[in-house]
């Protein structure tokens, strides 16, 4: 390249796109690589436009690259497990084990201990599950893994409800969202405005070495965080936002758009924390009101009836604005 090219530092799409022909090979994403692992291969039975299938391939491919393919994944019960491994087929092109709904973190701790016993410190362990298996059912095992600082990266793919069993509410379901168990009926339709359960913050309270949030809408950010996590030993946690067209009542083509809007509204802040302290956040590029995000999903349709539910929309906007303040998302 010319010297002047370096001076300009303008690459048309920069690092917003998956690849970019103007960037050097080593500046492109793992997903741009013709020889990426495709850890979660074709033929899986996830719905059209599944955000979780996408997030899992993004994260595990990045972890495979970071560890030189020396990786074992432990999966909690949930969509990801069900759609990827209906007997006798598997979509996983990595060593992969499934045990129970609630014990992924504990099994992963055991796998890590076994590798240590075998004298294979190069083999790294990831535990992964949905929000149900993480924030509800597997929460005790997860907290134990954190508290012992076991050498595991736990990844939660958050689609905000129990999806494969028929869209039941989880403790990650956002306020006002309609699910099978929080129908859009009565004076306050949809999920209650509770106090919330912010697992990334809870993980930080354990003062584990690394906690991060990521989104399928920001691949470079996600890959960087996974790579960083694999460079650290001890308990680590990454919480990835993965839209669910089926459960959210959104168009399959809108999966990444919704993930992007969740970030750009401030509803899902992207940040990382080391040893319990927030160390960085990813700024919002073009701030948008929460209605742009809510309107694309049928689970919020009751907020936009003949009489829009302005009060609760304002409450949701308040949540977004608070995130913007808390994490300094507008720089």
């Amino acid at each position: 390249m010319h010297e002047q090219d370096q001076q300009i530092k303008f690459y048309q799409t920069g690092t917003f796109t998956v690849g970019n022909r103007l960037l050097a090979e080593n500046q492109r994403s793992v997903q741009a690589d013709m020889h990426r692992t495709n850890s979660l291969n074709s033929g899986h039975r996830a719905c059209q436009g599944c955000g979780e299938a996408l997030g899992a391939r993004y994260a595990i491919d990045a972890a495979m690259q970071a560890t030189g393919n020396q990786l074992i994944a432990v999966n909690a019960t949930g969509c990801l497990e069900v759609f990827s491994t209906p007997y006798p087929e598997t979509s996983w092109q990595i060593p992969w084990i499934h045990s129970l709904f609630g014990n992924a973190a504990a099994v992963a701790s055991g796998v890590a201990a076994a590798q240590r016993a075998l004298g294979r410190p190069d083999v790294r362990v990831i535990a992964q599950g949905g929000d149900g298996g993480t924030t509800d059912i597997g929460f005790g095992c997860l907290s134990g893994m954190f508290e012992r600082n076991d050498d595991v990266l736990y990844i939660c793919y958050d689609n905000e409800a129990y999806m494969n069993t028929g869209v039941q509410r989880s403790s990650a379901t956002p306020p006002a969202a309609r699910t099978a168990t929080t129908p859009a009926l009565g004076p306050a339709p949809g999920n209650v405005f509770g106090t919330g359960k912010n697992v990334p913050r809870i993980a930080m309270a354990h003062r584990i070495p690394y906690v991060a949030t990521a989104s399928v809408s920001n691949l470079r950010d996600l890959e960087r965080k996974v790579r960083h996590a694999m460079g650290i030993h001890g308990a680590r946690y990454i919480h990835i936002f993965v839209p669910c067209p089926l459960g959210w009542g959104s168009a399959p083509a809108d999966t990444i758009k919704l993930a992007r809007l969740a970030v750009e509204t401030g509803l899902f802040p992207l940040f990382e924390a080391h040893d319990g302290q927030v160390t960085s956040s990813t700024p919002i590029r073009h701030k948008v009101p929460v209605t742009e995000y809510l309107k694309l999903q049928k689970r919020y349709a009751h907020l936009f009836g003949k009489e829009p539910d302005l009060g609760r929309i304002a409450q949701i906007q308040g949540m977004a604005d608070r995130n913007v303040d808390d994490f300094g998302l507008l720089q």
Binding site: M1, H2, Q4, D5, Q7, I8, K9, F10, Y11, Q12, T13, G14, F16, T17, V18, G19, N20, R21, L22, R28, S29, Q31, A32, M34, N38, L40, N41, S42, G43, H44, R45, A46, Q48, G49, C50, G51, A53, L54, R57, S84, P88, E89, T90, S91, L219, P245, A251, P252, A253, D254, T255, I256, K257, R260
Partner: protein, 542 residues
């Protein structure tokens, strides 16, 4: 019994599960027509040549550009760039400075001495071109590339037509014009100057030409009857601009009045300023909104101190140079009507810039021709009513600009080639338009603030005056990279990355992508996240 006590079943791959069967819509890759290409009167593949410029391969960019238009350095100076007016980037921040990049490429080509390749084989056919202006030169270039023997004849003393005898030097330096004309002639094209064709059929027969392309332009100044004293100094714009090319520059005096509202009027007024006139005044009978001249030219003229009297007509010119000017007022229909209100203007000379007519005398006695409103009628193949005689540029009904003329030349060349070979040229169907709503503009970088002011300055000055140079390489590369590549894959890998089903196959650099329809579920994320709109979802047919 040799069966084991416990068995481990082999796991099968999910590749056995062909999820493509779920699909109701399928994605297809397509090339859409970028708005810049759509707007270009010369039919340039602008997005196509910017693609090469983006990677810094300026020669490939110039070669892609000259597939359609051989006069890049001239275009980068005199084209009114309708491409920029339609550029989708204009809806994000500001249109890509296509014209300035074109000028940069054209100048690079001259500087580095890039040449056109000679044709691979000779067709044995001979084509006569009348007129060495933009349209004739363009036709000559394209016909020569197609292997035909080409001869250009021109009535003038130098090649270039209105590019030399109409466009002032401050807009088009003559060394640039000479270099680009010579490069075309170097392909093996014969040029005969100072040769006026009196009868086209006789000339064709004498030279054993198989076809002819006429592009004589419009060089006869239109007159208006203005009562004037015998000593009144009244000239026409065409001769003023033409005499700028000769030894004796026109004597316009210190106070010059130009009558008319087109680009030519502005050219004369600005030329007069440069010749030392202290007052250069344009008198135009309508308003600025109605003026046919381009806005930026009006702006530049005003910046240079040219004055414009709107809604005014010239009644007469007395011997001592006193002009009587009448104020006009627009009526209900927007036409100027006299008000009877008179004023006087002192002028050493009055230049009429009221439009130009075509000298059609070479067509006398040619059967089949249709002439209308002083122009030759041509069909959609640029052929006149007389088989084998084609025409283009200012002598056929159209907008009279250099770029339109160049476009005519290319189009005519293709149809002449088709006519000569007996296989009529069938233009490929136009792709659907890549309008802004087809793009996902999220993915494009914002232009860094540190570079923008510099660029704005370069852009403003590059179109104004040859005293200031065009873009340097840093700016040109940056400007090229602002292109959104509307409707045409630029291999950003987004589709390959965002497919949840790993159903996009990356074929490698320069080879783009393919869908794997065994597994594509038809979710449409690839279409939604394609920055440039090169994917379309269509219904699956059983």
């Amino acid at each position: 019994m040799d069966k084991p006590y416990a068995i481990t079943l082999d796991v099968g791959s999910s590749l056995a599960n062909k999820t493509g069967a779920w699909r109701t819509n399928r994605p297809v890759y397509l090339d859409r027509l970028p708005p810049c290409n759509h707007a270009c009167p010369a039919g340039e593949n602008i997005q196509g040549w910017l693609f090469h410029a983006e990677s810094g391969d300026y020669e490939a960019a110039w070669r892609a550009l000259t597939e359609d238009n051989p006069l890049a350095a001239i275009m980068g100076r005199v084209c009114y760039h309708p491409c920029e007016g339609s550029c989708n980037r204009g809806k994000i921040d500001e249109a890509v400075g296509i014209n300035s990049v074109e000028r940069f490429l054209g100048d690079e080509a001259i500087k580095r001495g890039w040449k056109f390749a000679p044709p691979k084989s000779e067709s044995g056919k001979r084509v006569l071109i009348v007129g060495a202006g933009p349209s004739g030169l363009s036709a000559a270039y394209h016909l020569r590339r197609l292997g035909h023997a080409v001869k250009i004849v021109d009535a003038g003393p130098r090649a270039g037509g209105m590019m030399r005898f109409g466009i002032p030097k401050y807009r088009l330096p003559r060394d640039v014009l000479d270099a680009e004309v010579q490069r075309i002639l170097d392909m093996g094209i014969e040029l005969e100057l100072n040769c006026k064709v009196a009868n086209i059929l006789e000339t064709m027969q004498a030279g054993r030409f198989d076809a002819a392309f006429l592009a004589v332009g419009a060089h006869i100044a239109k007159r208006a009857y203005i009562p004037a004293g015998e000593a009144a100094h009244m000239l026409d714009a065409v001769s003023v601009l033409r005499s700028m090319e000769g030894e004796d520059k026109p004597m316009l005096g210190r106070r010059v009045v130009v009558y008319g509202g087109g680009n030519t009027a502005l050219d004369v007024a600005r030329t007069a300023k440069r010749l030392g006139a202290t007052e250069s005044i344009i008198v135009y009978r309508r308003t600025r909104e109605k003026m046919p001249a381009h806005d930026f030219e009006v702006e530049e003229a005003l910046q240079e101190g040219v004055l414009i009297k709107w809604l005014s007509t010239i009644r007469n010119m007395a011997d001592e140079g006193t002009l009587t000017v009448e104020k006009m007022a627009l009526d209900d229909k927007g036409f100027p009507q006299p008000t009877g209100e008179l004023e006087t203007l002192e002028a050493d000379s009055l230049v009429l810039a009221l439009g130009q007519d075509v000298d059609l005398s070479l067509l006398d006695g040619v059967p089949g021709l249709v002439l209308k409103d002083g122009t030759v009628q041509v069909d959609r193949n640029m052929m006149t009513g007389h088989a084998g005689i084609f025409a283009g540029g200012d002598m056929v009904p159209s907008e009279r600009t250099v770029t339109v003329g160049i476009g005519h030349g290319k189009k005519a060349a293709r149809h002449i080639d088709g006519w000569l070979s007996g296989k009529p040229y069938d233009p490929p169907p136009k792709h659907e338009l890549a309008s802004f709503d087809k793009l996902n503009s999220w993915y494009y970088s914002d232009a860094p603030k540190t570079v923008r002011p510099m660029l704005d300055l370069a852009r403003r000055t590059s179109t104004f005056d040859e005293v200031v140079s065009g873009l340097d390489e840093t700016n040109a590369l940056f400007e090229a990279r602002r292109c959104l590549s509307c409707g045409n894959c630029f291999e950003c890998d987004n589709c390959y990355g965002v497919c949840p089903d790993n159903a996009v196959i990356k074929l490698g650099p320069g080879k783009r992508f393919e869908f794997n329809f065994d597994y594509c579920k038809g979710c449409g994320i690839c279409e939604a996240e394609c920055p440039c709109g090169a994917i379309k979802m269509i219904p699956e047919v059983s």
